[in-house]
Every structure is written in structure tokens, then in C-alpha cells.
């Protein structure tokens, strides 16, 4: 496939790895914000091509990981009603709330449907006029235009039997929360290229300036990530803290204005709880007043806002980049993808699952020990 295979070229990857080694004079700790980048790093072993002392820590950019347990509980409660159909992206089904997960709800007879696109939920709603169709709208800025379009078209068509259970999050406030953390060790960011494709990167200039941290908008293929690391380290070595764009084939400074317009019409910025991280002001999206009629919480009652249960799982620290998965005592012992304690092990994009899958229990434990 064009625009994919060429960015996996091993010779060019080696070239960037050599270039990184040449310019690196001391240890640096970088965070890749997005779970898709984490997945590529671990799958291709990109971190193993980097010089000793350059550490990539994995950010909170896994939407299903940071969706609060209470929202999953609500989705399970909704789909237990005989009149409802719950539509969800596939990765959400395995993530447990405080009780079970949506796969278990499905096995109890709940009508849970995996959709590829939010518009598929509208198709299901049109085909089932006597049922209430609820779309579990999770995601970051990348997914917001698609989810917004589902609400927009539903309203335009006058579809009354469809609603959205919204748990949308925004990246820049989470980056600030990480940088504000008392034990923060992040010195540079690879910003999430697909989030920036939609939103542009204007928002990152004040963050780079205020925290004196380089931010490089980075893509998802191995060469993208290696070039992003190179650009970030070069800034660090030169004492710069600027916003740069590695992923220029996809991202412009202004982003996708058409998408931003629809997002602005359908959604409004709200406070949001991030699973494992906590409440972050102005870090989420909820339906705007004009679209409040499509809010599943209005139809089926609000999501509860209890305190998060205590657990030995350190997924919160992993999501903030303060710990690596193998540093958790439960990792690979009594926390595995089959019996996960935390969301970062459940979601295929979660950092713990990526480590477990591509590094295995044994080698990961060794890595932690070394």
C-alpha cells in the first residue's frame, strides 16, 4: 500500500537510528502521546533501535483505556433493557467496568453490535424503528468528527430512536496534567498525528512555551516515529522547545476546519474524568445544547460519578508515563490479557497489552530487572 510500505523501510529506519545515536549526548525521556504510536513502537521494536539512555514512555492516548468504568457500567445497564441496541467500536467490548464488560452483557442476551463507523449506528436505527439504538461514542479528537456527524445526520433526518453515550476526551489538557505532575519526567513529546490532522497544532505552542518542552507532531509508521524522535532530541540537545511537524503529509497547522466546525456545533467542551488519571478540567466533549436531545444520559439516566475503586493496578501511573508496564508487580503474573486487572492490559492498544503481546512475560520481567 502506498503511503504505508515505504515508511517501514529498514534501511531508512537504520539511517534515522544512526542519526539519533550521533546527535544524542545524554539521556532523554520522551513520551509518545498516542496508543497507536505505542503499538508501532513495541511491534516493530523501535525503542530497541534507540541509543541507551533515550527512553520512550507511553502516553494516555488510548481512548478505551481512559473511558471511565462508570460509562461502561452505564452502557451495560442500557443494553440490559430489552428495547435497546448498543453499538460500539470493537475495542470497547473487552474493557471491564466496575462489574463485567460488554462481551459478558452480550452473552447475557444484550443486543451489542460492533460497528466500524458511527454512521453504521444510524443505519441500524433506521432498520429498527421500534428499538432504541445507543452509540457508545468514545474517542479523542480524531474520532470526534465522525461521532459528531452521526448526531448531526440523526438530527437532520429527524431520527428519534438513536442517542449517543458520550465519553470524548481532548489531548492538550491531558498533556498539561502530565507536565504538572510532581514526579513528571517527560522532556519532550511526540504529539498524536491523527489528533492533529483534525485539530491542527496551534494549541501546542503555549504548552511548549510554558513548560519549555519540545513538541513534535508525529505519525504512526516506523519512519515517522524515528524521525519524530530525531526532531525532538535535536531540539533538546540544542536547548530549543518548539512545536514542529513531522507528519506534514497529513497535518497542517490549522487542521481540518470543516471537521472543527461540525465538532463545534455538535459538541461543547466539558470537564472529564480519565480512567486511572482522574478529573481534568475542560478535557472532554459532551453534546452541545442543540444536540442534548441525542444524549443517552438524558434518556437512560446520568452516569454515576462515584470514586474510582482502589486497586493494585498501576495503570494510572502507566497512562501518565510515570511507570512502564513491567515495573508493575502484577504484570504478567496475576495480570495478563486473559485476566486483566487494568484497562492498559485489556485494550489491544494499552501499553501493558502491547508489552505483553510483543515482549512476552519473560523478557519484559527481565527488562524491568535490568
Amino acid at each position: 500500500m502506498k503511503f504505508r510500505d515505504e515508511y517501514r523501510d529498514p534501511v531508512a529506519a537504520r539511517g534515522y537510528a544512526d542519526a539519533i545515536a550521533r546527535i544524542t549526548t545524554r539521556p532523554w525521556t520522551l513520551m509518545e502521546v498516542c496508543g497507536g504510536q505505542t503499538h508501532a513502537i513495541v511491534r516493530y521494536g523501535i525503542d530497541e533501535l534507540l541509543p541507551d539512555g533515550v527512553t520512550l514512555v507511553h502516553g494516555p492516548g488510548c481512548p478505551v483505556c481512559v473511558t471511565p468504568a462508570e460509562y461502561i457500567d452505564k452502557a451495560i445497564e442500557i443494553v440490559a433493557r430489552p428495547e435497546t441496541i448498543l453499538c460500539s467500536f470493537g475495542d470497547m467490548l473487552r474493557v471491564a467496568g466496575t462489574g463485567g464488560d460488554l462481551l459478558a452483557a452480550k452473552s447475557r442476551g444484550g443486543d451489542v453490535r460492533v460497528v466500524y463507523s458511527p454512521l453504521d449506528a444510524l443505519t441500524i436505527a433506521r432498520a429498527n424503528p421500534d428499538r432504541e439504538v445507543v452509540f457508545f461514542a468514545v474517542g479523542f479528537e480524531t474520532t470526534a468528527p465522525a461521532n459528531a456527524m452521526a448526531a448531526y445526520q440523526a438530527k437532520r433526518e429527524g431520527l428519534t430512536n438513536v442517542s449517543l453515550l458520550v465519553s470524548h476526551v481532548l489531548v492538550p489538557p491531558a498533556m498539561r496534567t502530565i507536565l504538572d505532575g510532581p514526579t513528571n519526567r517527560i522532556q519532550g513529546f511526540l504529539a498524536a498525528g491523527h489528533v492533529c490532522t483534525v485539530m491542527g497544532f496551534e494549541e501546542y505552542y503555549p504548552i511548549a512555551a510554558q513548560y519549555h518542552v519540545p513538541i513534535v507532531v508525529t505519525g504512526f509508521e516506523p519512519l515517522d516515529i524515528l524521525e519524530g524522535v530525531y526532531m525532538t532530541i535535536r531540539q533538546l540537545e540544542e536547548g530549543r522547545a518548539e512545536v514542529e511537524n513531522q507528519y506534514s503529509r497529513s497535518v497542517t497547522r490549522a487542521g481540518n476546519r470543516t471537521a472543527q466546525t461540525i465538532i463545534g456545533e455538535v459538541f461543547r467542551v466539558t470537564p472529564r474524568r480519565w480512567r486511572g488519571i482522574g478529573d481534568i478540567a475542560e478535557s472532554g466533549l459532551g453534546l452541545s445544547d442543540a444536540y442534548a436531545g441525542f444524549d443517552a444520559e438524558r434518556r437512560f439516566g446520568p452516569v454515576s460519578s462515584g470514586a474510582e475503586a482502589k486497586t493494585e493496578c498501576i495503570s494510572g501511573l502507566v497512562l501518565r508515563g510515570e511507570k512502564k508496564p513491567p515495573e508493575c508487580p502484577a504484570f504478567g503474573t496475576h495480570c495478563t490479557p486473559e485476566r486483566p486487572l487494568g484497562v492498559t492490559m485489556v485494550s489491544s492498544e494499552g501499553a501493558c497489552a502491547a508489552y505483553y503481546r510483543y515482549r512476552g512475560r519473560k523478557s519484559a520481567s527481565l527488562e524491568a530487572a535490568s
Binding site: 511491534r43 467500536f89 466500524y116
Partner: protein, 349 residues
């Protein structure tokens, strides 16, 4: 096969639809008609013609025996249907034991309301798959369950066949240093079925790879290739097969990703759905663990058969930790290959 007059001849119970009714499983006339007009003509052979409770077989020497049940949605998919799956799956399981399938049993569980045309198509597929694999369907059973209690049609097949290989074939014969040979490109069945399911809206020309692999396997054995283990790649894909054998044999396995053939469109579908081709199902592919000295010859033999014309070496057995399967990726770094945990779900992230 198809009996064009069937809907006229069948004294279908109330409703008169050309569909399976509860009476078709009731043991009475309706059931006899179903068997006589659809099932027996399709499978017509002397064993079934005896209309007895079972088949009487004359077996000598070591015989391999296996059974498998088939549930698939949709029942008909590009490149096959549940009938071809059920016959080839059992034929292939026997081949993996170094045996050539000879006799098959078929159990059909029909859901009330199943279109009889679907049933006709499936039994016709079973017959042609059986003919292609040189196996006879010697005994069978048909049951009908209430609407909503089955996904249209479930099939169980069991198979018997004489063991051709003199040396034992199985994980315990695998040795460090063995070559790992894959019989062709992977992932087609899983993607063909997923694309045929409603919802994803893919247009592809990807067909299931469903096929019998008994001929190339027998050719390996008859040529005297030191075949240590064989495993067909079904659900869980190449990854699960490799991990299972590594664990059972107490060896590690090192694979080379670049050597594993995946068609461009299968790869693209995997990218869109966020799936790893190593985890995607196949129905006409297998891996052979053979002595290093015989590796080249084994590949040459496999390539003479259409079903394994794409055979390639994909790795080597090592003496590392039991069940540790690694795969050298595009950038030259090894990653761990693990079995799929749970159902394969498309992802957005």
C-alpha cells in the same frame, strides 16, 4: 445435486414454506422425505443405501480418528460454505496426523426456518468436497431445533483414515533445528468471512482458502521427507498454531515476518480492522516441521500441488524457552508472538 421439484413434492407442514420445519426432525414422514429428497441423493453411496443405523467398515492397521463441529456466520461466504469447511476441516485434521481420510460421518443440526435451498447447497458442497478429497460420507444424523436455537445450520463431522506415515507425526517429534515450512499465503479465510458479514461494507475479491491439503501431505510422507509435525492453521491463525506446537514440543520457534506470505488485499483489510494477519483464520493452510536436511526437498514437493504452490520456509525451531515464538519484524527486531486472547474484534485505536 438439487431437486428442482422439491417444493412441489414435499408435503411441508402448515405454512408450506420452502424452509426447514420442526416436523423435518420429528422422525416421521416429513423427516423421511427430507432425507430422501435432499440428504441421501447428495451423499448417495452403498453405505447410506443400506439405510441402517450405522456403517460397517473394514479397517486394518493404525487408523486416525478425529471430530470437529462447525459454526460459521454467514453460512455461505466467498470461496465456500459451512459444508466445504466441515468436510475439508476433518480431512485436513486427519492429514495432520499423517493419515488419508477414508470415511466421514456427518451430523446436521438444522434451525427451524432454514431455507431448504441453503440446505441443498450445503449438502451439495459437502459431496463435492468429499469427492475432491476421496472420502465417503458413510453415516449421518439430522436434527431440527426451534427457531432461534441455532444459527441456521450447525455441522459436525468425524473422520477415519489409515495412517500412512511410518514415523510418528506430532509435537513430541519436533527437534531444535527443524525447519518450519508454511504451505501458502495466510489470512484469506478469516478476512473473507469477516468481509461477508454485514456491517463492514467491504468490497473485496478475497475468497476463503478452504481446501483439502491431504495430497501434498501424503506426497511429503511418501517421498520419505522426515516430517516431524504438521498443523493446520484454523482459528487463531499461524500465531496460535506456532505457540501450541512450541508449548507441546517444549521448544522455541523463530519466525521471519518478511518470509510469511500475505496477499496485499488481505494485508490491507487487516490494517483497516486493526488485525494481525498472524492471528487471522485459514482453512487450507498448514505448517510442516521437517528435518533441516529435508527442508528444500519438502518445499519442492509442496509446490507441485496447487493448494500448496506458495510453500515457503518461514522459520526454525530453537532450543529456547518452551512455547516462546518470536518473529523478526521489518526493522530486524524480534517480537514475541502470542496467541490471540479472546475473540478477534476490529478496533479503532
Amino acid at each position: 445435486m438439487t431437486d428442482g421439484d422439491f417444493s412441489l413434492a414435499c408435503p411441508a407442514p402448515a405454512g408450506g414454506d420452502d424452509t426447514v420445519q420442526m416436523a423435518h426432525g420429528g422422525g416421521g414422514r416429513a423427516m423421511e422425505r427430507l432425507l430422501d429428497t435432499i440428504i441421501r441423493p447428495a451423499f448417495d453411496n452403498p453405505h447410506l443405501a443400506r439405510r441402517h443405523d450405522g456403517a460397517v467398515l473394514d479397517l486394518a492397521g493404525p487408523v486416525a480418528f478425529t471430530t470437529d463441529s462447525y459454526v460459521v456466520k454467514p453460512l455461505v461466504f466467498p470461496g465456500g460454505d459451512i459444508g466445504t469447511l466441515a468436510v475439508n476441516g476433518t480431512v485436513n485434521d486427519l492429514a495432520m496426523c499423517g493419515a488419508r481420510a477414508a470415511h466421514l460421518s456427518v451430523g446436521l443440526i438444522l434451525e427451524e426456518g432454514l431455507p431448504l435451498d441453503t440446505l441443498r447447497r450445503v449438502v451439495a458442497s459437502m459431496r463435492s468436497a468429499a469427492d475432491a478429497a476421496g472420502v465417503t460420507l458413510v453415516t449421518g444424523d439430522t436434527k431440527v431445533v426451534d427457531h432461534g436455537k441455532a444459527d441456521g445450520l450447525f455441522v459436525n463431522t468425524a473422520g477415519l483414515g489409515p495412517v500412512v506415515s511410518a514415523a510418528p507425526i506430532g509435537p513430541d517429534a519436533v527437534r531444535a533445528g527443524d525447519a518450519v515450512i508454511l504451505s501458502g499465503d495466510i489470512g484469506r479465510h478469516g478476512i473473507a468471512v469477516m468481509a461477508a458479514r454485514e456491517g463492514f461494507g467491504f468490497e473485496t475479491v478475497i475468497e476463503s482458502d478452504c481446501a483439502p491439503v491431504v495430497d501434498p501431505v501424503m506426497a511429503l510422507i511418501e517421498a520419505g521427507v522426515a516430517v516431524h509435525c504438521l498443523r493446520d492453521l484454523t482459528r487463531g491463525g499461524l500465531a496460535s498454531a506456532a505457540v501450541e506446537i512450541g508449548e507441546a514440543a517444549g521448544v522455541s520457534i523463530a519466525l521471519d515476518e518478511a518470509s510469511i506470505p500475505v496477499r496485499e488485499d488481505v494485508n490491507a483489510a487487516c490494517e483497516i480492522l486493526g488485525l494481525d494477519p498472524l492471528h487471522v483464520a485459514n482453512e487450507g493452510r498448514f505448517v510442516a516441521f521437517v528435518a533441516e536436511a529435508d527442508a528444500e526437498r519438502a518445499i519442492d514437493i509442496l509446490r507441485r500441488f496447487a493448494v500448496s504452490a506458495g510453500a515457503v520456509r518461514i522459520g526454525t525451531v530453537g532450543g529456547g524457552a518452551a512455547g516462546e515464538v518470536t518473529c523478526r519484524g521489518a526493522l530486524g527486531v524480534d517480537r514475541i508472538v502470542d496467541m490471540l486472547s479472546g475473540e478477534q474484534l476490529p478496533r479503532i485505536c
